[in-house]
Assembly symmetry: C2
Homo-oligomer: 130 residues x 2
DNA sequence: CAGTATCCGATCTGATACTG
DNA sequence: CAGTATCAGATCGGATACTG
């Protein structure tokens, strides 16, 4: 039962709430970006650092560890010199990526509408404020 | 073309990146929770406050404004005493909610696996450190 | 190459008192 | 009822120097 049923008066429990779960997994500025970047196959640390514009080394590391801990990324270390580490999506992350697709699709389809809404909202508030 | 194609060497642009767009819209601790709570029909401020466990008045207000600005919520004020304000999803938010469903579905299906992954990860690190 | 360690400012959140 | 205003604490995130 994917549909989260909410009748009047129901509480959205913080614990065990599937919505919260997704959020916690995917929240943060970079998680989804990394998942998307890793979706086409194993990627190395530096590849990610270069491909995800604006990410710092620190945040890349932290987010990678986080995703690995949740079982979304598989980290493989090759004992070579120089060292090589590959990150690749696990099966459940690959499923997640599929779900994400409908979200990005939504974003693309409504990007203009959302921009317009913002402009309208700001204009209204500006007018109201004098 | 919903599929975000990423060839080796491509950059995930910060601007105009549909992934980023979704994130910015839906990020934050409460946005999605509010969307889910409002999905079944118009809700009042206090209803939301009661149904979303743990949310503070401040964050509810901020998040509502944010969603309203992005054109995801429609705010209706009734000039009654005491005042009454309804929030309801716009059409595009309703679409978003549909997309969210596949995410929550994913969360439910893999909740156990993710928990297990965490435990395993922590145990490993503990063993390595100890 | 693939990180770790440290410092610090920006942002997010919660608690709470007050108001039209 | 439906907020706003203010303050403090927690967390996030970036820059950067250093290392196996």
């Amino acid at each position: 039962m994917p549909q989260a049923k909410i009748d009047a008066g129901d509480e959205i429990a913080v614990e065990a709430c599937p919505v919260r779960e997704v959020l916690d997994r995917v929240a943060g500025k970079w998680s989804i970006l990394i998942i998307v970047a890793a979706a086409r196959g194993p990627v190395r640390f530096t590849e990610l650092e270069r491909s995800i514009e604006g990410i710092s080394r620190r945040m890349l590391t932290l987010t990678l560890r986080h995703l690995e801990r949740d079982g979304l990324l598989k980290r493989t270390v090759y004992a070579t010199v120089p060292p090589r580490v590959d990150y690749e999506l696990t099966d459940i992350a690959r499923e997640l990526h599929q779900s994400l697709l409908s979200l990005t699709d939504w974003a693309e389809r409504h990007r203009a509408a959302i921009s317009a809404a913002r402009v309208a909202y700001d204009a209204e508030r500006l007018a109201a404020a004098g």
